[in-house]
Amino acid sequence: MNPLFEVIRDPDRCIKCRVCERQCANEVHKYDPDLDKMISDPMTCVDCQRCVCLCPTHALKIRPNENQFRENANWSHQTMDEIYKQADSGGVLLSAMGNPKDYPVYWDKILLNASQVTNPPIDPLREPMETKTFLGKKSQKITYDENGKAHYEKTPYLELDVPIMFSAMSFGSISKNAHESLARAATELGTYYNTGEGGLHEDFYKYGKNTICQVASGRFGVFKGYLDAGAAIEIKMGQGAKPGIGGHLPGMKINDEISKTRMIPKGTDAISPAPHHDIYSIEDLRQLVFSLKEATNWEKPVIVKIAAVHNVAAIASGVARSGADIIAIDGFRGGTGAAPTRIRDNVGIPIELALASVDARLRDEGIRNDVSVVVGGSCRSAADVVKAIALGADAVYIATAALLALGCHLCRSCNTGKCNWGIATQRADLVKRLNPEIGYQRLVNLVTAWDHEIKEIMGGMGINSIEALRGNRLMLRGVGLTQKELDILGIQHAGE
């Protein structure tokens, strides 16, 4: 096997401070006292950039290994490498984070509108710009009594100050400090973070007001107190990175705290089955939705999260009729702590198309008001958020972007448990590298920045409230898309 990367050290800049050595959990760098210099072994380097970022003299860079197998358009270097790996191990290949393959990114083929002459852009510095968003069933029932007093039905809802939430990442797949960062950021931002399927650490019950408690097929850490703790409950039916596949947290990551939080013995593997074994049909889902509502006194909205698969519109329609208040759809580019590589890279559909068809379908059926639609996997910027909302989403879920804000450099080796940024690891010395004080502030900064950008874009469109953007597909135009793609997206081509 060849190293994937080369470690390039500029000896004129290196002062041998050894911070690279101290900070690399993969033990790439080493100080050699005999040579009085830093040496490196690139074999274990994952290009996480921790050393590069911390090097005080910018003496380091990590590059792809220039060593190449003989060029072959069909048998790429990576394909061959994977063959060797499997021939070595006989195992399923595992990967982390989202689908890295070169499938079309529809966000990048959609352009936004702005006002000119006939209607004025609105200056967000001068006028109120509103991004508050409600998620949940929107009952239109209203009556007035003889005194003119309105009587209306109130259904459980989530109230977001920004149309962005942090999507599910379990305690176990990410560290306690990462969770704390998310929880505190959600609280400060007036939005929500999601526990993922790993339960809720006892220290974080205090952030319950801004917590979505997930119930997944493994039911880890689920009990009455957990359901009561959050603002909403999410039933995870699927995940964009690995539709149709369960989860597996290796026993070595199940330390005392995770064991307690997940309510499983220390050191045992935490296996989430592919299906919920009590949900083999839409009726079963309905039962679970109502059971959870009953368990929480009908006070909390229930989210059903599904992966974007081929017939997502029909599935969403079924979910909408199952009593769920919110549907979360996760696109095939969504992240994961670990997934079988073949699944991650080949299963599911783009979130843009899934969203467009779900929104259209729910409107056609006249039930769009019965559910809110949240999309994730992957929204990378404020522009993606604006496009998602204009296509019809009520809000978006972000996770990979949030991890990047926390320091992740997408080295995609979460599954090793040696995250040098203290995010996807449970090793105490690594976990402490993510100071939630910094982490939460960076998340707040990120979402605040996006919120500013969303407002700026809205203002340009002459819109000063996010609800006027929702489903406003006239604000979108496609470029370089086929008529079929335009039809599915429900938008016109640029120039039309």
Binding site: P120, K132, K149, Y152, G366, N369, I463, R470, N472
Partner: protein, 391 residues
């Protein structure tokens, strides 16, 4: 090739004007024609129209349908449809006067009709919904026929041309109404289709509108879930349907309708300026009716069976002036047009964005409609008179 209304979305600027006499005293149509004539520069000759209320006292119990036909074939098809669904009490061509600046006129017919009781019963709809559905069906399905007015004791008159010419063409001096509204249009491009002129109406709702709403598609895609078809792709159309949905179908009072369409800002809701009960209600509206919030510049005058409502977008991105003289209330894009109708108003002000002015007929006015639609607190200017800072 230029596309006509409905095939593409055309932004436009406009002038609007209107007035109402609360006592039900009827005023000749020439007054409203003069009021728009002085705002000639706000139109470009590609559309003008009027709505008059109380103009058909002799047929006040029938639905008055005004229809454009592109051809006799269209008329035959439409009349066949009308015959199947309505008892046609009276039909005639609408009398017009030749005007050199009004050209390419379609066939313009007027019918006073009652729904056929059997059909109505079969439909399991209330009468108004039945009529509305029939109107939408004709417009949607009979090529070359377009019903542009369908209320009781009211009528819409519109054409391609400058509004003062349109008034002359329709001989409005021959009609008397207790309320009038008018619209002069400045579309950025259109071949000029008569049906695309304003007011837009459904039943007795009429809307004259100045602005270009940026929430259009969000509003359209939402309201279409409730059986409406936005054929014209115009703001006016979608606003009309929103008002129809909220006011007629959900039976919300116009004050609350205004709070949905031009909802208070969150900062206002948090400021404590509303009572806790209202704050809660408006929060609820912003949640469940969020897709009916209209943003972008607009000023509208809504006419309905017993009153007028003027409303600006909440940022007041379009001009709108109101005035009062005795029991008559005036609303217009510009003060000059009000002064044309009434040089010595008692007071004149610029209403704040998002704060509706709702004026209804006094209870004892001679020509009130069915009691169900009478506004509570009728007869008063519903909104505190205030002098907004933006004119």
């Amino acid at each position: 090739m230029l596309q006509r209304e409905g095939a593409t979305r055309i932004p436009s600027g406009c002038a609007i004007s209107g007035f109402i006499n609360r006592s039900g005293r009827r005023t000749n149509g020439s007054v409203i024609v003069n009021s728009i004539a002085c705002m000639h520069e706000r139109s470009n000759g590609l559309g003008g129209g009027y709505a008059g209320y109380g103009i058909y006292p002799e047929y006040k119990d029938q639905y008055a349908l005004h229809v454009f036909y592109d051809s006799s074939e269209a008329r035959i098809k439409a009349e066949a449809f009308l015959d199947r669904h309505f008892d046609v009490v009276n039909l005639s061509r609408i009398p017009v006067r030749k005007n050199p600046r009004i050209t390419d006129e379609p066939l313009i017919w007027r019918y006073f009709v009652n729904p056929l009781p059997t059909k109505l019963q079969d439909s399991q709809l209330d009468e108004r919904t039945f009529v509305a559905k029939c109107v939408i069906r004709i417009n949607d399905q009979i090529d070359g026929a377009y019903v542009f007015s369908s209320g009781k004791n009211m009528g819409v008159f519109k054409a391609v041309g400058y509004p003062e010419d349109v008034g002359d063409f329709y001989r409005l001096e021959e009609y008397d109404g207790w309320a009038w509204t008018v619209h002069g249009r400045y579309p950025t491009n259109t071949p000029g289709w008569w049906g695309g002129a304003h007011p837009f109406s459904l039943l007795d709702y009429t809307i004259v509108h100045n602005g270009e709403i940026s929430s259009y598609d969000a509003n359209r895609r939402f309201i279409e879930m409730f059986g409406y078809k936005c054929n014209l792709l115009t703001d006016t159309e979608v606003i009309t349907y929103i008002i129809d949905y909220l006011h007629r179908r959900l039976e919300m009072p116009l004050e609350d309708v205004a709070k949905v369409i031009a909802s208070p800002f969150w900062s206002e809701l948090e400021s404590g300026k509303f009572s806790p009960e209202d704050t809660e209600k408006y929060r609820h509206f912003r949640n469940v009716f969020s897709s009916l919030l209209v943003t972008g510049p607009f000023s509208i005058i809504l006419g309905f069976n017993n009153g007028l409502m003027a409303l600006n977008d909440r940022l007041k991105l379009r001009s709108m002036v109101a005035a009062e003289k005795g029991d008559t209330v005036y609303m217009s894009s510009e003060e000059c047009s009000i002064r044309t109708m009434c040089p010595d108003v008692d007071k004149i002000w610029s209403p704040r964005g998002g704060e509706p002015i709702i004026v209804t007929l006094d209870k004892d006015a001679g020509d009130t409609r069915s009691p169900r639609f009478t506004q509570s607190g009728a007869g008063r200017v519903a909104t505190e008179v205030n002098h907004g800072e933006r004119v």
